[in-house]
């Protein structure tokens, strides 16, 4: 199961979501993409299916600044869910913020694999998705 079956995008920026979906489709990295407008929506979706490994995304692209529940709050909630999850979920922090504070904060979460600064380039996507295939 090296192929990324399910990717998850949590971001309130419609344009970004549109663009990233378009890129993924173009490169045929993944066929199932879940999109949530904020952290709360994502948590609400994931919580009931934590044990259904097949339903869970393989990769999450998480924004920081979002209304209602931002990326950090999502991570706090996700950490709580994690013990029940029996699947390797790679989380990328994807944000417009180039602030050190945010970059450093991301490092505090072992669950976060990397911090990607928007805009996402094709190369970044390839690294995130193709790497998984190997």
């Amino acid at each position: 199961m090296n192929k990324i079956e399910i990717a998850c995008i949590i971001d309130d920026d419609d344009i970004y979501v549109f663009g990233i979906k378009k890129l993924i489709e173009m490169h045929k990295y993944c066929e199932n993409i879940l999109v949530f407008k904020n952290g709360e929506d994502a948590i609400k979706y994931l919580t009931p299916i934590v044990t259904q490994t097949n339903e869970l995304p393989d990769i999450i692209l998480l924004d920081i600044n979002m209304p209602v529940m931002d990326g950090w709050s999502f991570m706090e909630e996700f950490v709580k869910l994690k013990p029940q999850i029996n699947k390797q979920i790679t989380i990328y922090m994807v944000s417009s913020s180039i602030h050190d504070e945010d970059v450093n904060k991301a490092k505090l979460f072992t669950e976060i694999s990397d911090y990607i600064v928007k805009p996402i380039k094709s190369a970044d996507l390839k690294r995130m998705f193709v790497k998984e295939e190997e």
Binding site: I15, L23, S96, S97
Partner: protein, 1010 residues
């Protein structure tokens, strides 16, 4: 023609000559010849004739002139003043002129000329010249100048000296008038004018002492001597000498003054003075002498000194005078008696000296006459009393009265003498001299002493009577030897016995047995010895020194102080032991002033030359005649005390110097808890800066300092002091003082308390003005706040830039890359639509940022009075549609007419934001109810907006509530900008927002406008 001229020429006074040069013949006219004393026939007519008569020196001159005349073809004139020898041997001066009148080409053929006798003129000239030379030479040395007035030529000449005296330049050319004008106007000028006129008229010479005013305006005395020279009854010339006599005049004046002075001294002298002729006549007498003898001056001048001299004294006086006149003595003094006019006798001391002429001839006597009557009378009275005493003492046993004749043979041996000495009158009178009752060695020693003192051999009986002979008493101690060989001390007074005429006829020795006195003295010495034993064991050192400073006695304990033993010191002079000689002088001065000194500090020297301080108590010792005999006293080593004092002084000086440099004040504060009284026993000058109180004003009472403490802080200060007093913990306090000059200042004090035996507490502390530090601290705090705020805003702004703007640019980039890869037109169109959206969003963000930036940079926002109630109503009007749609109930509780000063635009924005939020976040289950309240707490208006909406989870979102782009409800129209902007606006105008909220129940915003 020639003959006629010849006749004329020969009749004139001039001589005439005519020389035929080629022939060598020369005609010499008779006048020519007579000029030299020869008859015509006596001299041959030839050039040799005159060449023989002319002076050889002058011949050379003449020939030279002839040669020049010829060679110049007559251009150079032939003219000479030459000398010829007269027949009688005298010199004849001739003015010789001539000319060649015939030429043979360049050779002279005939030359003619004439001789004029100028001898007289020459003689005058020569005389003048020589006198002048002589005058100049001699007179320059004597500063005697010469002058001459030539009345014929109207010429005046002054020698250099004369010019110098006039203080004119050497080139000065005087004339008669200017010469006269130098004389001082008035007497001097009149006299010289008259003298000159008279000299010219009559030839009378003059010699005057007059004053001139020199060219440099000095008025001086001169002597001018003038002589007239007459020729043929007419004055032709005045000449004379001129001399500066200012100095002489001055000397004369001084002499006059000194004469006056002498006169004064003579007249007003306190003793009688007189000039007496050689015969004894009073020539000049002063007032004092007149008073003395009771005669008037006129009366006295008519008589001689012999007339008023006591006959008994006259012979000696006259003998003395003879000795003076015969040059045996220079002067003499004697005591003699004068009779006054009223017949009384006055005793005088007469001193006479002789005044002689320059040639030694005696002129007169100068006498000084001093009245000694009183002294004489006193002497006589004394003698009389002495005589009386003699008779009294002879009756008394313990007094020995022995009289001798001039040779020393005992003539009287009183009863007392018998009793004291064991001899009888018979044994002694006419038999022995007093030597028998004296110790020989005492007499010899005394004799040596006297001999040395007076420079003459005094021995034997003279030892006793040396002073008595001179009419003086002598009283001294002697040892008398009794007949049995035993001795006893006596005080012996020896005096002369005189007859009625005052002649010494014998001597009287009165001796008093002083054994008793001596015994007492010995007893005293014994007790002293005992006493010394006592003081040897005392710290204090007793000492005794004689008048010259020789140490007679000192306690052995001195060795402890000085290292010198008693033996080393006794006999030495005290000066040797002073470290500073001036100390002794000061001590003596103090002693002489009051007779004693107490605790007088002097600095002495130890045997190792170290300095020790000694306190001296001393008093003078007197002998029986009340003469200072010496000094006695005690001293105590106070070196340690002095060193401690000096150390203390040094450290005190150091401290006060240091404390003066301190920015604050160091002080000692004493507080008595029972009475509440306090003072500053010491405070450095810095107290003046800190409290504006001089330290001396609070030395005894601290209240002046407490008056300065700020009324709001006084209680705290008092409490902290009391606390420190109770607990004896250090006192540290910072408080305000209210100063008359500097106003309110912050001071900070720190002090350490110490409990005193009298239960008072003394703090040693330091206090300083910390106003500046305080101000800086506050300033720093403010700065920190401001910087913090600004940092926050900067952070926000940076965040906005990095996040929001970047997210838009990120989207642009993303979309553009997709467009590049788009496969068909419709796909591209979709992407362009998206680009358009991103562009709009970017624009919106920029507008928001602009708003934020403008709030943060608007420092001075215009404010005006706003009707708050009305503003709320207006806002509700704007929101009317929304209110109706949501069926909201809005209650404006702001009292009508409430006005506040605020910025219009901000107020609109704030109200709109809160009210629209209240509607926006309504509870889904109920209609919104919003109340707008108002209160004013101490001038700060507060608007309260209370809704019954969904509420905010402040635990979760409290911090982020007012952040930019923070939304919490997932509302579609929530932008997360409203509260951020509102908060910024409120804070920009100095206000703040508080929020209370409960999820599900509602939210209350409190807006503190200022």
């Amino acid at each position: 023609m020639e003959d006629i001229y010849k006749v004329i020429l020969e009749d004139t006074l001039s001589g005439y000559w005519d020389w035929n040069i080629p022939e060598g013949t020369e005609y010499l006219s008779p006048t020519f010849k007579s000029m030299f004393g020869y008859e015509d026939h006596e001299l041959e007519n030839s050039p040799e004739t005159w060449q023989r008569l002319i002076f050889p020196d002058d011949l050379t001159v003449v020939l030279k002139n002839y040669k020049e005349h010829v060679e110049s073809q007559g251009e150079i004139p032939y003219k000479n003043e030459v000398r010829y020898r007269h027949k009688d041997g005298s010199t004849v001066w001739v003015l010789c002129t001539g000319r060649v009148i015939e030429w043979d080409g360049k050779d002279p053929i005939r030359m003619v000329g004439c001789h004029i006798d100028i001898t007289k003129q020459k003689e005058v000239e020569k005389k003048l010249k020589s006198t002048q030379e002589l005058l100049n030479k001699t007179n320059e040395a004597a500063l005697v100048g010469g002058w001459e007035v030539d009345l014929i030529q109207g010429r005046v000449a002054w020698t250099d000296v004369t010019k110098t005296i006039h203080e004119v330049d050497k080139n000065f050319e005087p004339d008669l008038e200017s010469g006269i004008n130098f004389y001082r106007e008035g007497e001097s000028r009149e006299k010289i004018t008259a003298a000159v006129e008279k000299a010219i008229a009559t030839g009378e010479s003059f010699d005057l002492e007059l004053q001139i005013t020199t060219a440099k305006n000095n008025l001086i005395w001169i002597r001018t001597i003038g002589q007239a020279e007459f020729e043929k009854g007419k004055c032709v010339r005045l000449y004379g000498a001129f001399q500066d006599i200012s100095r002489r005049k001055k000397a004369e004046e001084q002499l006059k003054i000194s004469e006056v002075k002498f006169e004064d001294a003579f007249n007003y002298s306190a003793i009688g003075m007189a000039l007496v002729s050689l015969e004894g006549k009073w020539m000049k007498v002063n007032k004092r002498l007149c008073d003395l003898v009771g005669y008037t001056e006129e009366e006295l001048l008519k008589i001689t000194f012999q007339d008023i001299t006591h006959p008994d004294d006259l012979d000696i006086d006259l003998e003395n005078i003879q000795n003076l006149l015969s040059d045996k003595i220079d002067s003499y003094s004697m005591e003699k008696r004068y009779f006054t006019k009223s017949g009384e006798t006055v005793w005088v001391l007469l001193s006479v000296s002789l005044v002689r002429n320059v040639d030694g001839t005696p002129q007169h006597f100068i006498s000084q006459i001093e009245d000694v009557t009183k002294r004489k009378k006193a002497e006589q009275d004394l003698q009389k009393a002495h005589g009386e005493l003699t008779s009294i003492f002879s009756a008394i046993n313990y007094v020995s009265v022995i009289a001798t004749d001039l040779d020393g043979t005992i003539k009287h041996f009183s009863n007392g003498s018998e009793a004291l000495l064991g001899y009888t009158k018979e044994e002694m009178v006419d038999v022995h001299s007093p030597a028998i009752i004296h110790l020989e060695n005492e007499v010899v020693a005394r004799g040596k002493e006297l001999s040395k003192k007076h420079g003459e051999e005094i021995a034997g009986f003279d030892v006793f009577i040396h002073y008595a002979k001179q009419d003086r008493y002598e009283s001294r101690e002697w040892t008398y030897v009794r007949k049995d060989g035993t001795t006893f001390p006596v005080q012996l007074v020896v005096s002369a016995v005189k007859n009625n005429d005052g002649e010494i006829v014998g001597y009287l020795g009165i001796a008093t047995d002083i054994s008793e006195v001596k015994n007492v003295y010995h007893a005293l010495q014994e007790s002293e010895k005992k006493f010394r034993k006592i003081f040897e064991n005392v710290q204090d050192v007793f000492y005794q020194a004689d008048y010259d400073g020789k140490i007679i006695e000192i306690s052995p304990s001195i060795e402890k102080y000085s290292g010198f033993s008693r033996e080393e010191i006794i006999g030495k002079n005290v000066t040797e032991f002073y470290y500073y000689a001036e100390d002794r002088e000061k001590l003596l001065e103090a002693l002489k002033e009051s007779g004693n000194v107490n605790d007088f500090e002097v600095r002495l020297k130890t045997s190792s030359d170290e300095l020790i301080y000694v306190s001296v108590n001393a008093h003078l010792l007197f002998d029986e005649h009340m003469n200072i005999k010496g000094v006695e006293g005690s001293m105590r080593d106070i070196t340690e005390r002095k060193q401690a004092e000096s150390l203390l002084k040094d450290s005190h000086e150091l401290l006060s110097k240091m404390s003066e440099q301190l920015p604050g004040a160091i002080y000692q504060y004493q507080y008595f808890p029972d009475t509440g009284k306090s003072s500053f026993p010491f405070a450095s000058i810095g107290l003046r800066e800190v409290y504006e109180v001089m330290p001396e004003y609070v030395k005894d009472d601290a209240s002046k300092v407490f008056e300065r403490i700020h009324k709001d802080d006084l209680e705290d200060v008092t409490k902290t002091i009391e606390h420190s007093a109770e607990t004896l913990e250090d006192w540290n306090h910072e408080y305000r003082v209210s100063l008359p000059m500097k106003g309110i200042r912050w001071v900070k004090g720190a002090a350490r308390p110490e409990k005193q035996p009298d239960d008072s507490i003394i703090w040693h502390g330091y206090i300083a003005d910390v106003t500046e530090a305080k101000e800086k601290e506050e300033e720093l705090n403010n700065t920190v706040t401001i910087v913090g705020e600004q940092n926050k805003r900067l952070f926000n702004f940076a965040h906005i830039v990095s996040h929001n703007l970047r997210s838009h640019s990120g989207n642009f980039e993303l979309l553009l890359s997709l467009i590049a890869e788009a496969k068909d037109e419709s796909e591209k169109n979709t992407l362009f639509d998206h680009l358009n959206t991103v562009s709009k969003q970017l624009n919106e963000t920029i507008v928001h940022l602009n708003e934020v930036v403008s709030i943060q940079t608007n420092i001075n926002l215009q404010q005006k009075s706003l009707d708050l109630h009305q503003y709320v109503e207006n806002t509700l009007g704007i929101l009317a549609g929304d209110i109706k749609k949501k069926n909201a109930i809005i209650t404006n509780k702001i009292p009508e007419g409430t006005t506040i000063k605020y910025n219009e635009a901000y107020m609109e924005s704030i109200l709109l934001n809160f009210l629209s939020n209240a509607l926006k976040y309504k509870h889904p289950d109920r209609d919104p109810e919003v109340r707008i309240n108002y209160e004013n707490i101490e001038g700060s208006p507060i608007i309260e907006v209370k809704d019954n909406g969904i509420g905010i989870d402040l635990n979760k979102y409290g911090k982020k509530l007012f952040g930019m782009y923070k939304t919490f409800h997932g509302n579609e129209d929530a932008k997360g900008i409203g509260l951020f902007i509102t908060k910024n606006q409120i804070e920009a105008l100095g206000g703040k927002i508080e929020v209370e909220s409960k999820v599900g129940e509602g939210t209350t915003f409190k807006i503190y406008l200022k």
